[in-house]
Amino acid sequence: MTPGEIRTAVLDILEGIAQDDDLGQLDDSVAFREQLELDSMDFLDIVMELRKRYRVQIPEEDYPKLESMGSTVEYLTPLMADISA
């Protein structure tokens, strides 16, 4: 998957979690926690959704890298390079 495809995939996960939010205006450089008020339960959900959908395993020490859309895509790019969109 390209970084653009990964962004779409993460956005799809977020849309599933925060169904009442409009994510069209999401700023990739601002933390999810600030923009969407996601809490630790929600971060665990992003991790589990990635595992469920793409079999991507994210170790706990890497959770901070999922802070914003920008950092998440950057972190996932090498991990998901071989996955077809």
Binding site: I17, Q19, D20, E37, M41, L44, D45, V47, K52, Q57
Partner: protein, 462 residues
């Protein structure tokens, strides 16, 4: 072999089931009763639907709110805010002799009521609010502080203390006389800082959404399948035995039947365990009126009343019921959307404290007579706090501690379960965890949160 077996198809069990099935676990929910919902269920009589538990959904926050338990559970369950179709309350009150404190989903109403009825308690009340906002969930030591001691230090007006305790104890206190401070904070937030709401179609709408979602994710829901034993092997739970003798194996077991009741499923019956069970049970008389309650001048959603300056929160000892305090709820008095209009029937529900043992020991005829007698007495006590509606009643029913026992399987028909909660849901056995009432959260939103929290922590953590 299941990944997780869940005992009880109430709100917490269904929520946990959705969460686990969503993440591809093989999950089965076992329910002894013929219907789902546990304490928050419904039944049909003479062509009408009656709710059992739900007066109102607490923890209401408006659409778009991102913080708080309601927003959090919607995200966890992948529901939209609109899926629960919540309509806000009109206005509620705490009614004591000569003093009436109104409150709504806007905190400022209660604030101004306190300022006008108890002018010298305004600052103490703000101090209490500060403490409640600061309160950190899930710290067992702070949780178990005495609320009465905390409030007596803050307030100099004992009547206000009783008035604040009344609704919060009614809606979620399993302990007699006093309340755990943690539970008080949770209830205060859910009722006074967040608020009341109800789906036009009642609790069945929420239950139907939960069940439909659970099944669509491949979860199995089995009704009329009571669990008679939890099978143990070297300190760990490995499965369950059903009432019919069938055995089912599971890697994890979540039990929503209560703490004492779960211990008994593991250890067999023993008299010493029953002592720790809760004591507080209710009767509720439900009257169907030939008109809307507002047409007879009753516009409030919920009235918590008490007939003296001292609020007594105990199992009745001399009588089958204690009618000195009660809750008047009218499901009509919510702000339903114009599309829904009014509920077809006017409904008044009145709840009073009741003694499970006295109710449980009646034969069928005496039970029927007791329902009539106590329905009359409960109503007579309540109409001191609302217009007399008795001439307009066209049908009625009463649920009793026996009903609550049948729906929840809690010892003593204890509405809010055992007085001592296990906030982390742990038990003496590995792979067996508590969810629901005895984990510590109450109400519809609370019990759903309980199921989610315990499922996440023990059955899903990577």
């Amino acid at each position: 072999m299941y990944d997780t077996i869940i005992i009880g198809a109430g709100m917490s069990g269904l929520a946990a089931g959705i969460r686990l099935a969503y993440y591809d676990q093989k999950v089965c929910i076992l329910e002894r009763h013929t219907t789902i919902g546990g304490l928050n269920s419904f039944y049909r009589l003479n062509g009408r639907d009656y709710d059992v538990g739900l007066h109102a959904v607490t923890n209401f926050t408006p659409k778009g709110t991102k913080k708080g338990p309601l927003a959090r559970l919607l995200r966890q369950l992948r529901f939209k805010w609109d899926d629960f179709s919540l309509s806000e309350q009109v206005e509620s009150s705490i009614a004591f002799p000569g003093v009436n404190l109104k409150f709504s989903n806007e905190m400022d109403l209660l604030r101004s009521e306190i300022a006008s009825c108890f002018p010298d308690q305004v600052d103490p009340f703000e101090r209490l609010l500060g403490k409640i906002v600061e309160y950190d969930d899930l710290n067992q030591e702070i949780y178990e502080q005495s609320t009465r001691e905390v409030l007596d230090e803050i307030f100099t007006e004992p009547l206000l203390v009783e008035m604040l305790l009344c609704p919060l104890m009614w809606y979620g206190n399993a302990r007699e006389d006093d309340m755990d401070f943690g539970q008080f904070c949770i209830m205060f937030r859910s009722i006074f800082l967040e608020g009341f709401a109800r789906p036009f179609k009642g609790v069945r709408l929420i239950l139907k959404n939960l069940v439909r979602r659970f099944r669509s994710l491949g979860g199995e829901l089995l009704l009329r399948k009571g669990v008679s034993q939890i099978k143990l092997d070297e300190g760990r739970a490995v499965g369950v035995v059903l009432d019919n003798g069938d055995e089912i194996e599971g890697r994890n077991i979540l039990s929503s039947v209560g703490r004492v009741e779960t211990d008994r499923l593991c250890l067999g019956s023993g008299a010493s365990q029953v002592a720790k069970a809760g004591q507080l049970s209710f009767v509720e008389t439900i009257s169907i009126l030939d008109r809307q309650p507002r047409d007879l001048g009753h516009e409030q959603t919920i009235v918590f009343y008490n007939d003296s300056n001292k609020f007594h929160w105990r199992r009745p000892v001399d009588e089958m019921c204690d009618v000195r305090t009660g809750v008047i709820c009218s499901p009509n008095n919510f702000r339903y959307s114009p599309d829904d209009g009014d509920l077809a029937d006017g409904v008044i529900r009145i709840t009073a404290l009741a003694d499970y043992h006295r109710w449980g020991n009646l034969d069928e005829d005496d039970y029927r007579l007791a329902k009539i007698k106590w329905s009359d007495q409960v109503t007579a006590a309540a109409i001191k706090f609302m217009p007399d509606y008795r001439r307009f009643v066209i049908d009625s029913d009463m649920f009793t501690p026996n009903t609550i026992r049948r729906f929840t399987w809690h010892d003593n028909g204890a509405v809010y379960g055992a007085p001592e909660k296990i906030l982390d849901g742990s038990t003496d056995w590995q792979n067996l965890y508590l969810c629901g009432t005895d984990q510590g959260y109450v109400g519809i939103v609370g019990s759903i949160m309980s199921g989610l929290t315990i499922a996440n922590r023990y059955c899903l953590a990577p």
